[in-house]
């Protein structure tokens, strides 16, 4: 039960109170660099679909991808729009990078390679472990792009040089690990052997030994520790909006 009746009400009125005061400044949107309202609308629609929820969400996203991937100009628009974004627009950059890899088009290869090869800007967070680590965000964008390079490699688009270069030169374990598995999934034995040699030479043979396992096989949370929680009354749970 609520401790008091302070639940927000739709259409409720604002009341003065203590606490901090926040206000909206700028509102960022994915820019229209196409000059083509229809193309821009398609881009915004598919981004909205990719981040949606509901029982039909993924089916709608896959259908949109099928339509869009047949259009090389759309792939180019996604790549150019991504490149136009500000460095700190991490959510938008992720969305466009993920879209680019999901389109699985050879036209996306250059943009993905460029992202993976781009130097990672210095950390901007004062406390990267508790704040927004900009290095972490940049690395996640690149591991996402590496997943795209792996998918292209499986479709005979040779992206192995970029993956080998990343294994050889990156300071971050996550990028070396992602590139290693991208090559393994790509299945090109010559590139895998080169990667194995580079990792061994730099003392990273342990990355080769990492196991990719299903979550069911991972060590789960210690149930005895979880169970120490103080149970609280359950409230009636509304149905999700998809029923």
């Amino acid at each position: 039960m609520p401790r008091n009746d302070d639940t927000p009400q739709l259409g409720g009125e604002r009341r003065d109170a203590e606490g901090d005061l926040a206000e909206a400044g700028a509102r960022r949107t994915i820019p229209d660099i196409s000059g083509d309202p229809d193309a821009y609308a398609r881009l915004i629609d598919i981004i909205g679909t990719m981040t949606s929820s509901g029982v039909r969400a993924d089916a709608l996203y896959q259908r949109a991808l099928t339509r869009a991937s047949a259009d090389p100009e759309f792939v180019t628009l996604v790549a150019k729009t991504s490149a136009s974004l500000e460095e700190d627009a991490y959510e938008e950059r992720w969305a466009l990078t993920q879209l680019l890899i999901d389109l699985e088009s050879p036209e996306a290869a250059d943009a993905l390679v460029e992202l993976v090869r781009a130097p990672i800007p210095p950390e901007k967070a004062e406390d990267p472990s508790h704040g927004l680590s900009t290095v972490t965000e940049e690395v996640i964008l690149r591991t996402t792009a590496i997943e795209g390079l792996s998918r292209l490699l499986r479709r005979d688009v040779d992206t192995s040089d970029t993956l080998l270069e990343t294994i050889s030169s990156s300071d971050y374990v996550a990028l070396r690990r992602a590139s290693w598995f991208a090559l393994v999934d790509g299945g090109r034995e010559d590139a895998i052997e080169k990667a194995r040699s580079i990792l061994t030479d730099r003392g990273d043979a342990w990355i080769i030994e990492l196991k990719r396992i299903p979550v069911e096989e991972a060590p789960q949370a210690d149930r005895e520790q979880i169970g120490r929680a103080k149970p609280r009354p359950r409230r009636p749970l509304p149905e999700p909006f998809d029923g």
């Binding site: 700028a26 981040t51 929820s53 969305a95 508790h130 749970l237």
Partner: protein, 222 residues
Amino acid sequence: MVHCTYTVPDKNASGDNFYGASICNQAYIDYFWGTYGFSGNKNYWDDGFGWDDACNTDQPLARAFNGCYALTYSASDYQNDSYSGACLNWARRYVREHIDDLRSKCGDGTAIASFSGGTVELYLGFFYSKHVPGRAETLLHESRHSAKSHNAKFPAGSTFGAGKNGADSSWGYNGAWMYGALYLWWYYAQGARTTSALRQAARQRANVVIDGAFATHPGFSI
């Protein structure tokens, strides 16, 4: 009174447009407010944080509700929150049972959220730098600080700052990083009412946490 101004990222990219439009419903507001520690904390959610405009996804409260929605309904059998099941199922229960008070504040820009004595404070970075499932993961991460603090330094090659404090010693420590990564892993593997793109985002983030947030690497990857 601290006064802050925030930038609202593209709401299609963050997922707030879709979630916000779908869950603008008093039944969800009542449930989230009464379940996840909002209740009794109106003073921390008004004055521009959204209490008076709970469906406005420009403002923090609706964006927090969107994260609560993902936390609550991302398991296909969402009604089963038994601790003997998947983390995707019991995460909402763990948050419910470990956050007494959930409050929003401007923050000073150094942290996204913090936990202290049953109170979780959420700062602007929570609302405006994380997509919707990422907010659910953060609620679980902070809840876990009710039992465990970080106890180690980040390893070489970590994106979080090698040699700095804030890591967990190991996966088996059962700390906040493990809980967050485990949630994201289940979300990737079995997340319902979502898309392959958001599940991939969960996988990428979980892998980066596995690679960089434990002093001793767990030895596996997703």
